[in-house]
């Protein structure tokens, strides 16, 4: 009596992703907040560091920290609508692969991060970065894209854990930050040479490799354990 109509994993994930993007477009709550947060943080770093321009490792560190904390805002809100408006039950009732929810939420977070960086990275170039951004952009985009995958995967996993806890606003960040540390080290160290005044503009292969390894390992691991977070 298995139902042939039931959609496959990817079609389900796309349906959920579509719904999430529609909800974000209607509410315009999460992404604008992430962008504003990042811009304010750049201003804080300007005053905190007492510098008009920064470059190299310092610039990479400032950019990584800013994007990380802006991403945390999105991660905290990722499952809020599901919990408060019955989205979990509605999804769990449907004859679909539960892992599709992980895939959809990670993709949604990836879209949010891309939009954030589309604005925050040029703003960083204008406000703080010493050397011109133009020629450094491809290398930076490569490192940030790999970092975004790590943020999306771990963010989704941690958010799915945190949303069912009492102290959900605290559990997400305190579990997520140490778990993300290896990826953040790699993003910061990989972007450092890219943003240096006399850099070649290419990220060191070692860091790209570590980021890719991190992404693959945790994507597979999240895929394996995600179902257990939805059962009741």
């Amino acid at each position: 009596m298995r139902d042939e109509r039931a959609p496959g994993m990817w079609r389900t994930a796309l349906a959920v992703l579509r719904k999430d993007l529609l909800l974000e477009l209607r509410g315009l709550e999460t992404v604008p907040a992430m962008i504003l947060f990042a811009l304010v943080t750049f201003v804080i770093f300007h005053f905190g560091l007492g510098r008009d321009t920064i470059d190299g490792q310092l610039a990479a560190g400032v950019l990584t920290a800013t994007l990380l904390f802006a991403a945390m805002l999105g991660i905290n809100r990722l499952f809020v609508a599901e919990r408060e408006q019955g989205g979990f039950d509605a999804f769990l009732l449907a004859p679909v692969d539960r892992t599709a929810l992980l895939v959809a939420k990670a993709l949604a977070l990836l879209v949010f991060l891309a939009v954030l960086e589309l604005i925050a990275v040029p703003a960083f170039g204008l406000l703080l970065l010493g050397p011109p951004l133009g020629s450094r952009l491809p290398g930076l985009v490569a490192v940030l894209a790999l970092g975004d995958v790590a943020l999306a995967v771990i963010g989704t996993l941690v958010s799915a854990i945190a949303v069912h806890t009492r102290a959900r606003d605290l559990i997400g960040p305190i579990v997520g930050l140490p778990l993300l540390l290896p990826a953040l080290i790699a993003v910061a160290r990989g972007a450092g040479p890219v943003l240096a005044v006399h850099g070649s503009g290419a990220p060191p292969g070692r860091w790209v490799a570590i980021l890719a390894l991190y992404d693959v390992v945790f994507a597979l691991l999240s895929y394996a354990v995600f179902d257990f977070l939805l059962e009741d």
Partner: protein, 242 residues
């Protein structure tokens, strides 16, 4: 039900004997380090503690995976005890590491040692295990989420060491590496005995805590069976499974 108390006495005696022998060897047999002098002997406590704690974290992850496979609560309890003890050992690692760093290099903390830095990050992650459990009220969900955490964090341990080691531009010249690959023979013997002692201590404590939890659960189950469900006061909110 497994009886964790079986063999506990023999194990405890073996632990005491091994640790006594290890201490005697450390103080009276192990050679003084040429550069660092007496304080280097903290190595025989620091490194075995670190190895045992890391193995304890990974062990907890494996037990968590067993819980997810079987759904039997006892695996979650085993995982909890493994991680909880590894955390206590881990605090010892950070303290002895700081003392060693202060005595050798004059600073309480040195970032240039990738092993110690990695260990700090692992500790920061596992320190969230108890708050996470404490924050979930439903017992089944607590077990499931804690096991998911244990599995993910267990896999995190090796990846983290790779990333941090790569981040260090140079490794601070250390007399001894963690693996003990280039230890002189006499030091190696003392190190192995110390490691055995600490590992035995971990296993003894693990079995001891499991026996205590097991007994408490059996008492509760008996009370429920004899007096009925409502006669047993419900458990207080707690991070510890029982």
């Amino acid at each position: 039900m497994t009886t964790y108390g079986r063999g506990l006495r023999g194990l405890a005696i073996a632990t005491v004997v091994t640790i006594t022998v290890a201490l005697a060897l450390v103080f009276f047999y192990a050679p003084l380090d040429a550069d660092q002098g007496f304080v280097q002997k903290i190595f025989y406590l620091h490194v075995p503690l670190a190895i045992t704690a890391l193995c304890g974290f990974v062990f907890g992850g494996a037990l968590g995976a067993m819980y997810l496979r079987t759904g039997e609560a006892r695996w979650d309890i085993r995982s909890y005890v493994a991680i909880h003890l590894a955390l206590i050992f881990g605090v010892g690692v950070l303290l002895t590491g700081a003392i060693w760093a202060k005595a050798s290099w004059g600073h309480w903390w040195i970032w240039s040692d990738p092993t110690l830095t990695s260990f700090l990050i692992v500790m920061l992650l596992f320190a969230t295990y108890q708050p996470l459990r404490f924050s979930i009220e439903d017992r089944d969900r607590q077990s499931r989420y804690a096991s998911v955490f244990a599995v993910v964090a267990g896999a995190f341990v090796p990846l983290n060491f790779i990333a941090v080691r790569a981040a260090q531009a140079y490794v601070h010249p250390r007399v001894l590496t963690l693996a003990g690959g280039n230890l002189p023979g006499s030091m190696r013997l003392v190190f192995v005995v110390s490691l055995l002692g600490i590992a035995l201590l971990y296993v003894t404590l693990w079995k001891y805590e499991m026996a205590a939890k097991n007994t408490r659960m059996q008492v509760r189950a008996l009370r429920r069976a004899l007096l009925g469900d409502d006669a047993v006061s419900s458990l207080k909110r707690s991070a510890a499974p029982s």
